[in-house]
Symmetry: D4
Subunit: 252 residues, 8 copies
C-alpha cells in the first residue's frame, strides 16, 4: 500500500514544518472522509476491476438508451470491458454511437466489448440448458462468462426426460471445471448432472413453464432441494450472476 | 338391472290388488328415499366393492383403536378385504382381537387382511422410490396395491443423483404396466423415469426434506411441472391414493 | 433389435479381417458415443414414436411461426403425425405453406395432421369440463387424444353447482375407459365424478376464475385433495398432458 | 331514546337552579366520558345481549381453567346463557364448581348452560359435514346454534365422493332456512349443496387433510371460489362463527 | 309433486293396456334419463328462477359481444330479468340491438333489464364501501341487489381511518336487514361495522391496494380473521356474489 | 373546547326562551348527527390539517385527470398545500389549468403546491436509497417530506455491496433526526444503517428486482426481520407513507 | 474525539524519537485493525449505551439459564441496565443467583434490572392492545419501554369490534407522544387509532388467531396496508422492537 | 478402461470358438445389464470416493441409532472417512460401539472419523456466521469442511447491524479462498461480505428468527436477491451442503 499524503504529512511533522496538533486534526479529517475500502486499496473502483477481473456491469432494465450509452462510454473510456445485460436493440443503437466496436447478442439480450483488462480463466466453463426455452438465460451466462475471460462451451437441450442426450455428453461434462446449469419447469437437471460429475455446479432456475411453475419457483425449489452435492443456486433467470460465480471459481 | 320390488308393485297394479294412486304414492316415496346410485345398481356399497375391486378403506388418522377395530370387524364380516392406512401398533392390537388373521405392516403403517373379493390385475405395478426416507410412503403404496390384487415390484433407492442404479434397472422399468414413483426433495425421479418408459406414471411427492422443501411442496411442484409426458400427480405422501389409481389402471 | 454394424464387426472379427484389439477399440468408441436408449432400441426417436403411439409434439409458446413451420415440416416429412399446441393463426399460416393438409383447431389453439403412424386405443376417452370457460383447455385435450388414436367424447358444462346435468350423463361417464376432467374455480368436479365411476380420472385444473382462485391454484389444490379415489392431477391448463396420459392408459 | 339525566339537567337550567356555564361543563364531561354506543342505547352490554340474542362468549384457548370458571360464573350470574368454546374437561371441572348445571360437549369441545335470555329462531339451521373428521367443527356449530335458540339438524358424512347419500337427503336440505356446511380436503360440499338449494350457505373449511391441504387452505380456497351462488365463507375450523351467522339469519 | 306420465303409465298397467314388463322397462328408462332435480320439481330451470327469485346470470368475462347478446336475448325472451356482469360498452352495444330496453351501468360494469319475474325483499340491503377505489365492486353489488328485488342503500367512503363518517351513519347501519361491506387494503371495515350492528354482514375484499396487499389477499385474510361476529366472506372483488347472498337473506 | 351553539341553547333554556323538551330534542339531534371527532375538535378536516401539518393527499392511481384536477382545485382553494402521488403528466396538465402554480416532479411522479399551512420540522429527514432503481420511490418520499415542511437530504446509491460509499457518509447519517431507507432486492440497507445510527429508521421495501424478489416481498421480509433495532417498515413502494411518518416524528 | 496514542505517535515523530517510516507503518497497522465505528467514538459498546440510552439486550430464546445468567452478570457489572426477553422462570432463577435485584415479569416473559444509565423520555408511550390474547406481546413492549426510561401507559382490550371502549379512551390516545399498537387476527386496530390521532404509531402484529390468520400473517398484511397515515410495522410478536423504536422517538 | 470379458469374447469370436450370432446376443445382454457409469469407470462407488475426495455421508435424521451405527461401520471398514450429520448423542453411543475412534461434535450435531482417504484443499475455507443462533449450522459446515481435508477458519458473530466487527476482520475475509456465510433473519451478511471480497461465497440461510422470518424463507430470499456478485445459495440450514461445495472449489 502506498499512501503518499500520509508520508508527506508525517515528514512535515518530522521536519517541524507542521505542528502535531494540526497534523492530528488533518489525520482525523482524513480518517473521517476515508471510505473504508480505501484503507486497503488506493482507488476502489480501479482496484475492483483488477481483482475481480471485471469492472462494473450495466443492468439495462429501467434505463433509457441514452443512460445506457453514457455509462457504457464512461466504462469503455477507462479501458474497461463493457457488459450491458437485459438490454435491447434500441439501447444498442445508442451505445453503438458512443462505442462503435460494441457487439449486440440477440439471444442473450446483451451488449459487450472486450478490452485488454480481462485475465484468462483456468479451465472450461460449461453452460448446460434443459430446453430450448431456457436458451436466453443460458446465452446470458455464455456471453458473460466469455467476456470475463473464460473458455465457454454450450450443452443445450439436454432435459432429464431425454437422458440419452445428456449421457452421451458425459465426456464434455467431466471435462469442465465448473458447470452452469440452466433449467425451468421442474429444475431437475442440476441434480442429474450433479450425480455425474464432481465439479461445482451453479444452478439457474428459469421462469420457463406455466401454471404451477409459478414463474420459476418450482424450478428454484427443485434446485434448492437437490439431492446431489455440489449444487448451489442463484436467482431465477440470473444467467449473469451464475456466470460471474463460475468465472470467479474458474479464475481461482 | 333387477329391481324385484318395482316389478312386484307393477304386477299388483296389473292384477288390480293395488290402486294406481297408492302405487304412484309408493313409487314417489321410493324415488325420494332412493340414493341416486341405487337407480343403476341394487346396493351401492356392495356394488362398489364389485366394480372397484375393493371395498371401503379405513383411514387410521384421528380414529381410536376401538373405532378402527369396530369398523374393521364390520368390513371383514361382510367378506371384504381389510385395509387400514396411517395406523399404528396400538390400533393393530385392537383389530387383532376382532380380526385374528389381520397383518400389520410396520413400514407402511398399515393393517391388512386379504379375502376372496379381490380380482387380479393384468400386469406388474412397479413402485419406485428415490431415497430411503421415501420408503414408508412407498410401502403404503406396495401394501395397498398388493391387497388390491396386483403383482407389485419394488425399486428403491434410485434417486436421480445416482443415475446408474436407475439405468441398470431399465428392464424392470419397461416391464411394468404402470409405475408409482415416490420422491421427496426436488421430486425429479418421475421426470427421469418418464423419459425412459411409456407407461402411465403416478407420481407421489413425499414430505421428505427440510428447509425449502416446505413439507413436500418442492417435490409436488417439481412433479406437476414434469417435462416428461405420462406423469400425473397425487397429494403429498399419498401412497395409498397412487396405488389405488395404479390398480385401477392395471385392472383395465 | 437389429444392429447391423455390430454384427458386421463381429463377423469381420470372425473372418479374421479385423483384429480383436481394433475391434475392442471400435466397440468402446461405439459404446461411448452411444446414447443410452440406443442400447435397447435402434433409433431412439423412431422407436419412441412406435412405442408411445405418438412422435414429438411442438409447443407453440415462444416459437416464431417460421420455427413452428420448419419443425412441423420435418416431423411430417418423416411420416409422423403433427401436433402443435398453444399456437395461433399466424403460426398456422406458416405451417399451412409447408404442410398443406394441416388443420387449425381454434378453440384448442392447436394445429394437427394425422398420418398413419398412430395405433387405435381400446375404449372411450371422455373429456368432461365444468364450465364454458374451461372449454379451450378441454378442447386441447380432445384434439390431442383424438390425434393419438383415441375415440373421444365431450361432456361439457357439467359443473357441480348444477348436479342434474352431470347425473343425467351417468351412462356416458360409466361407458368411458378413462376420463379427463377439466375444471377451474374450486375444482370440485373430479371428486364428484370420481364418486360416480371407477375408471382412472386425470384432473386438469384451469386458470379460470379470479381473486382467490390465484390463477388455478385453488382448483389445483382442490384436485390434489380430492376425497374420491382414482383421481390424479396434472399441471394447471395442461390439457395436452392429461390427454397424453389418458391415451397411454387407453392403449394399454 | 330516554336520557333522564339530560332532561333533569335541562330542567334545572330552566328552573335556574343550575347555571348555564356549569351545565355546559357537565354536558361536555358527559359527552367526553360517553362511549359512542351509549348515545343510542343506555347500557351497551345489556343492549347487545338483548339485540344479538346472545351475550359474550368465552374462547377457551389460552385461558386457565380458573379464568374460564370466573368469567363463566360472572356471565351466568347476570342471567345470561353460557358458551365456552375450544375448551376441555379440565376447564369444565373448574366451571362445574361455579356453575353446577353447566354441560360439557365432548365432540364440540364446548361448555354450555342455556338460560332464559335466548329468543327462538324462525326455521331450521342444518349443519352438514363432509366427513367424520369434520365432526368436531360441525358439533361446535351445532352446540352454538342450539344454545342461540335455533332448531338444529345434523347431516353428517355426506361427502361429494358419495353423492347418493347427499341426494337422498334432498328434502332435509330444502327444509332448512340456513345451512352451515363443514368440509375439509377439497371443500367441494358447499358448491354441490349450493346447487341443490336456495337458502344462504355458510361454508366452514376445516383443517382436515394432509399434504397439499395446507391445514385447510385448500378447502378455504375451494369455498371462496365456489361456482354456486349463496355461499359465503368463514375462517378455517370456525364452527362457532358460522353458527353465529346462521343464527343471526334465522332470527331475522 | 305432479308426475302425469307416471300416473298415465300406472293406469295403463291397471287397465291392462300396458304389460308390467314393458312398464318396468319404460320406468327404468325414465329413471335413467331423469335429471335428479326433476324428481322434486318439474322443470329445473324454470323452477330455479321461481325459487331463487332470479334466473341465470351472464358473466361477461371471456365472452364476445355477440355471445353476450345472444344469451341475453334468450333470457329476456323467456320473460326473465337480465344481468350481465363484468362487461363493457362494446358488449352493451350488441345487447342493445337485441334487448333495446337494457341499461348499462358504467361503474358497475353491468347490463341489466328488470322484468316482472322478481319478488321483493323484506328490508334494506345496505352496501358500504371503504374507499373511492372500492366503488366499482360496490356498484356491482348495488346493481345486482336492486335487480334481485331489494331496496338498496349506498354508504360509501366510510374507511376506518376516518371513523366519524362511519359513526355518523349509525342509524343507517342499524336500519339495514343485511349489509354488504366492500373494502380493500387492510379490509378492516367489516370488523368495525360488525361491532356496531347485529345483522348479517357479507364482506367483499377488493383487489384495491398495492405492494403487500397482494391483489386483495390482505383484505381477504383480514375479513376471514374478523374479530366481530356475523361476518362471512366471499371471493375478492365478488360484488355480485355478495349481493346474491344478501338478497337470499333479505327474501327469507 | 368551545361549542357556541351548545351554550346558546343552554342560555335560551335558562332564559326561558326554549322549552326543556324542545331543547332535549335538539340536543339529541345534535348528538346523533355529530361525527365523533367533532366532540373534541370543531371542524374535523380543518383540525386535521392543523394538527397533522398536512391536509388530505390525492392518490392519483385510478383517478381521471379531470377528477384529480377537481379535487386539487378544491384543496388549494381552501388554502391547503397540494400533494398528488402516483400521478402523471396528463393529470398534471389538467391540474395546471386549475392550479397554475403547481409543480410536477417527474421522478417522484407527484404534483405539489406548497402553501402557508405547513409548519417546519425540527431536524433533517434523510432519505437513503440503495440503488438507482429505487430512486422513484425515494423521490416520492423526498417530495412528500419537503412539502410537509421538513429539511430533506438525499443519500442515494449506497447499497450494502459497496459499503465504503455508505461508510463515507457516516456524518450525514448521524446528523439526521429520522432516516427513510429505501431498498429493493434483499432489503439489507436498513439493517446496516440501523447498526450505524440511533435514530428512528422507516424502511421502505421497493418492488425493484426480479425472480425471487417477488415484487418486493424479499425486501419486505428482510426489513421486517432486521437484526438492527430502530427499524420499522411500511408497505412496498410506499415512499409517501414513510415520509409522512418521518415528518410526524420530525415535528414532535 | 480523544485519541491519545495518535497524538503520542505524532509527538514522537515531532521530537524525532520515532522515524516517519516506522510511524507510517504503525499508523497503517492501527488503521487496519481499527473497527470502523472506532474512528468516530473511542469504545463502541460504551458509546452505544450512551447514545442509544440502552445497552445490549439478551434474547432468551435458545440460551441456557447459565448462559443467560453469565451475560446478565457481565452487563450489570458494567453498571448497565439489564433486559432479558423471551425468557422463563428457570432462567430467572439462574439470573437471580448472579443479579439478586433482578425482577421477573411473568406476562412479558422478561427479566429486568434498571440501573442509572438510562435517560428519561419526553412524553408518554402508550401501549394499546386489541385483545386479551395480545397481552404477552404488549407487556413485552411495556416492560421494554419502561426500562428504557419512558413513562408508559397501557390501553388494553380495545379491539375494533367494540369501538366504544376505544373511543372512550380518546383523551388518553391523544395525550401520548407515540403509540405502540398490538393486535392479532385482522390487525385493524392501528388503522382505527391512526385515524383518531396524529402521533407515530408502531404496529405490532401478533400470532394470535387460528386458521387463516397464518400465525400472524393476516395481521401483518393488514397493518402494512393500513389506510391510516403514521403507521409503521415491526415483525410479528416483536413487542421489544416496537418499544425500542417508540423509546427512540420519545427521546428525540 | 479395461473390460476383460469384452476382449475375451472378441478373441473367442476371432478364434472361432464363439459364433457371431451368439456373441452378438451376449454383447446385447451385457449392454442391457450395464449400468451407464460403468462404461466409464470400473466400480462406481469406489470411483466416486476417489474423485469427490469423500465417500457417502450418513444423514442421521429418520434413522435409528442401530441403523446409523451399521452404516458407519460399513463405511469405516472400507477405509473411508465417516461423517454423520443431524445426529445426536444416542446415535453416537451406538456408533462408538462399532467405531471406537469416532468423535461427536455437539454444536454441529455430527459424528466424524477421519481416515487417510482425504486429499488436502488448496486454501482456507472461511465460515462466517451472523449471530450466535446461527452457530449450529455454521459448525456443521466447519466439521464437514475440515473432514473433507480443508483448512477451516471460523468468523462468528459478525452480523450486519454491528459492521465494525465485520470490517475489522477484513484481512481474514480476503485471505480465504472460498467463504461459507451463514445467516438467519434478513440474511444480509452475504451481500455485505460479497461487496468486500472477490472469492466465491456460498450463502446458507438459517431457520433462525421468528414471525415473518418464516423458518428461514426471509433469509433465503434475501440471499437469492443479493446485490453482490459471487453469491450462490443452498437450502435453509444446509451447512453440510455449503461445506461440500466449498470443499469442491477449494480442491480445484
Amino acid at each position: 500500500m502506498n499512501l503518499p499524503p500520509l508520508r508527506d504529512l508525517l515528514e512535515q511533522v518530522s521536519h517541524g514544518t507542521l505542528e502535531t496538533a494540526e497534523a492530528e486534526r488533518r489525520l482525523m479529517d482524513y480518517l473521517r472522509a476515508l471510505p473504508f475500502e480505501d484503507l486497503g486499496f488506493a482507488r476502489v473502483d480501479h482496484h475492483r476491476a483488477l481483482r475481480q477481473g471485471f469492472p462494473e456491469v450495466i443492468l439495462g432494465t429501467g434505463k433509457t438508451p441514452a443512460q445506457v450509452a453514457a455509462i457504457a462510454a464512461s466504462i469503455v473510456d477507462r479501458g474497461h470491458s463493457l457488459l450491458v445485460t437485459r438490454t435491447d436493440k434500441l439501447a444498442f443503437a445508442a451505445v453503438k454511437a458512443e462505442v462503435p466496436h460494441a457487439t449486440f447478442h440477440d439471444d442473450a439480450r446483451a451488449i459487450t466489448l472486450q478490452q485488454k483488462d480481462i485475465s484468462s480463466g483456468n479451465g472450461i466453463v460449461l453452460v448446460a440448458a434443459a430446453g430450448t426455452s431456457d436458451r436466453p438465460v443460458a446465452e446470458e451466462a455464455v456471453v458473460t462468462a466469455e467476456l470475463m475471460g473464460n473458455q465457454v462451451e454450450r450443452l443445450y437441450d439436454v432435459g432429464v426426460a431425454g437422458l440419452h442426450r445428456l449421457l452421451s455428453a458425459h465426456d464434455r461434462l467431466t471435462a469442465a471445471r465448473v458447470i452452469v446449469v440452466v433449467a425451468g419447469m421442474e429444475g431437475a437437471l442440476p441434480s442429474v448432472i450433479g450425480g455425474l460429475v464432481n465439479v461445482p455446479i451453479i444452478a439457474v432456475p428459469t421462469s420457463v413453464g406455466y401454471g404451477a411453475s409459478f414463474g420459476g419457483i418450482a424450478a428454484l425449489l427443485g434446485m434448492l432441494n437437490s439431492c446431489a452435492s455440489g449444487v448451489s443456486v442463484v436467482n431465477i433467470d440470473n444467467g449473469f450472476g451464475a456466470a460471474t460465480i463460475a468465472s470467479l471459481i474458474n479464475h481461482l
